[in-house]
């Protein structure tokens, strides 16, 4: 049996190479479909990985404990209680709130400079970081600063929505990034300064908990839930899962787009194999006359579809990756401030390749089945 399969494959291969132009066109259909999918999916995969990495570094915490009201009402000493829980490596109190800079609301984070540098890798565009206990200095994310038209050494007026109104701060630095992510938005104060501004001395809005082992996440989440009934306990994994959910919707849309072009490729295969069957009716009859069974014939034509889709799949994967460079270039000439990472995802390539083969099999099935049903008397029909 494997030998007859080998012969079927050989005949199919020669049939394809004999009609080079037609086969090339058919393969091109598959190539276009597969490369579109590979490009889009690779870009999507890269974006998703990038967003995830950024978030991971931004959050840096395994669990975030927040006030259920969203206000600044968790006593700061809770941090010390948490630090005593086994499995907790670090706990950082922060104040997260909206503050008006002049009259523009800006997401503001109050965090002790020591904590910030311990938790994140921070890089500056200009100026310096905040110092411990410094209560009249502020740094801005570079993008926010640009939008607001603020530079280093400028003086800004900050007003809490509930609390102090119109306190003056000096801008000491502009933030380029936290970690590898491009986090350059928002306004940063020391924890003390933020607490004073919102008039909640000794209270915070969130406590970021760093775990000794990420696997402890679930059990510690449970512990905290019991300890602080009134707080929101969110594991970072949960956040990631939500982001994943959004990303997979985007993925689905892109996949659907790519699939349309792949469907065209499938029609091409269907057409080519149909023509091949039509042209070779007598040959099929003859094969049956010399003893070929239906499955021999079926496999012969299915091989043709399969070979085309395998070749199309391989070339498509290669071109798809090349297509990512094209997308990068397009993004850059369009002047979008967006980095499109080229991350080769094995699952994207393998998935696209399997897709090519599946499409080939399905498109080839009907004409091959027709071929298998050509009656052997065709061998003796001469018109």
């Amino acid at each position: 049996m494997p030998r007859t399969l080998a012969v079927a494959f050989k005949i199919a291969y020669r049939s394809i190479t004999r009609r080079k132009f037609r086969s090339a066109l058919t393969t091109l259909g598959v190539v276009i479909g597969i490369s579109t999918i590979v490009s889009l999916m690779t870009v999507a995969y890269g974006m998703r990985t990038q967003v995830k990495n950024t978030l991971n570094e931004m959050l840096g915490a395994g669990i975030i404990i927040s006030s259920r009201t969203g206000g600044v009402d968790i006593p700061e000493y809770v941090k010390d209680i948490i630090l005593n829980v086994s499995g907790v490596k670090d706990a950082v109190p922060v104040v997260t709130t909206m503050i008006n800079v002049g009259d523009r609301p800006v997401l503001t984070i109050g965090i002790n400079p020591e904590d910030a540098t311990r938790l994140y890798r921070v890089s500056l565009e200009e100026g310096r970081l905040l110092r411990q206990g410094e209560k009249d200095s502020v740094i801005f994310g570079a993008t926010t600063a640009a939008t607001l038209g603020i530079g280093v050494n400028d003086t800004v007026t900050l007003s809490a929505q509930q609390g102090v109104v119109g306190k003056k701060f000096r801008v000491v630095g502009l933030l380029r990034a936290i970690g590898t992510g491009e986090l350059n938005i928002g306004c940063f104060l020391t924890l003390d300064a933020a607490q004073e501004l919102v008039n909640r001395k000794g209270y915070v809005s969130n406590i970021l908990v760093v775990l000794e082992d990420p696997n402890l996440g679930e059990s510690l989440e449970e512990t905290f839930r019991e300890m602080f009934e009134d707080a929101n306990i969110v594991r970072q994994e949960e956040i990631m899962r939500q982001i994943d959910r959004v990303m997979s919707v985007i993925n689905g849309v892109l996949l659907a787009l790519g699939s349309v072009s792949l469907a065209v490729g499938a029609l091409g295969i269907l057409n080519t194999v149909m023509m091949s069957v039509h042209e070779r009716r007598r040959e099929i009859g003859m094969l049956k006359a010399v003893g070929a069974e239906r499955w021999h014939v079926l496999f012969l034509f299915l091989s043709e579809a399969l070979i085309i889709s395998i070749i199309g799949g391989i070339i498509g994967c290669g071109l798809g990756l090349a297509g990512v460079y094209l997308i990068q270039w397009l993004v850059s000439i369009m002047g979008l401030n967006l980095t499109v990472p080229l991350l080769v995802a094995p699952e994207v390539l393998i998935g696209a390749f399997l897709m090519a083969i599946t499409i080939g099999l399905f498109a080839g099935l009907y004409p091959s089945w027709k071929a298998a049903n050509v009656p052997p008397v065709e061998a003796l029909r001469y018109e």
């Binding site: 050989k10 006359a289 003893g291 070929a292 069974e293």
Partner: protein, 306 residues
């Protein structure tokens, strides 16, 4: 029981739809012994190809029984028929029917690969031996398009021999090659028949093939005869009559329109000439009408629109 082929009352009727039936075989009885070289002659449409299809297990009879090499193949299903064909039957076709994508050697290997009884090495060796037997040892790795008609037919014969079939069925094996080459093919078939005692049943128009055979059979109107039947020529004559009839009908149409034109221009024409032309045309019309009536009665009372 040395009959290798036995056909009993084999009938094959094709239904072409809309109630049109064609009786290709009307009760064929035939016995062929092992080692025979049988030729079957007959006009087109007499059922020769249908008979080959039946004996080769390519198609099933409407009724009757076909026994090949002691086995009744009439009740076999598609899969078993395929197996039967590759084990018991070799085919030689008018247009050779080689796989164009495979070399001569690969074509000969094909039936052995399908039956899967020999190892790769044995298959290759047997295929080369067979090609040597038919005198093509130097052309083994050529594709059919690189071979002459005679050479292609030799490859087809080697392929037919591959699985040591009980019978080899030939459908006009010399029908598509020149006479000289045809002679060589006939010689080869005769040699194989004599040396290997290979049974051949060959349908042919070629008298040389018929003369080379040990037994001549004739087919007409779906039946097999041992001598050329008198009715064997009825079909061509009917065809000729029909052609003649069509011509006469066309002439009749032309005459009628000429007569009409003549009548319209009666005033302008010299009365003498007019009456002369008119009577000539009229006589011809009468003559044609009579001929058409005669044909109609000969053809069995077919309607006549004249």
């Amino acid at each position: 029981m040395s009959n290798i082929v036995e056909l009993r009352d084999v009938v094959k009727t094709y239904h072409l739809g809309e109630g049109i039936k064609v009786e290709a075989l009307r009760g064929v009885n035939l016995k062929v012994e092992r080692g025979e070289l049988v030729s079957i002659q007959g006009p087109s449409g007499s059922g020769k190809t249908t008979l080959l299809n039946m004996m080769g297990g390519l198609d099933k009879p409407t009724s009757g029984k076909i026994v090949i090499d002691g086995r009744d193949i009439t009740p076999l299903g598609e899969k078993r028929l395929a197996r039967f064909r590759r084990e018991k039957i070799g085919f030689i076709f008018q247009f050779f029917n080689l796989v164009p994508l495979l070399t001569a050697l690969e074509n000969v290997e094909l039936p052995m690969l399908f039956s899967g009884k020999l190892s790769d090495k044995e298959i290759r060796e047997r295929a080369s031996d067979l090609l040597r037997l038919v005198g093509l040892e130097k052309r083994m790795h050529h594709k059919p398009t690189q071979l002459s008609g005679g050479e292609q037919q030799r490859v087809a014969i080697a392929r037919a021999l591959a699985n040591e079939p009980a019978i080899i069925l030939g459908d006009e094996p010399t029908g598509n090659i020149d006479r000289a080459t045809g002679r060589k093919i006939i010689r080869l078939i005769k040699d194989l028949n004599e040396t290997l005692e290979q049974t051949f049943i060959i349908v042919t128009h070629d008298l040389a093939v018929a003369k080379a055979s040990k037994r001549m059979l004739f087919m007409a109107d779906g039946k097999v005869y041992a001598t050329p039947p008198k009715t064997a020529l009825t079909v061509p004559i009917q065809v000729l009559m029909e052609e003649r009839r069509q011509l006469l009908l066309a002439e009749l149409g032309w005459l009628k329109s000429s007569l009409l034109a003549l009548k319209e221009r009666k005033e302008e024409i010299n009365p003498n000439i007019f009456s002369q032309a008119f009577s000539t045309y009229k006589a011809r019309v009468e003559k044609i009408r009579k001929l058409l009536r005669d044909y109609a009665t000969l053809q069995g009372g077919k309607g006549d629109e004249a």
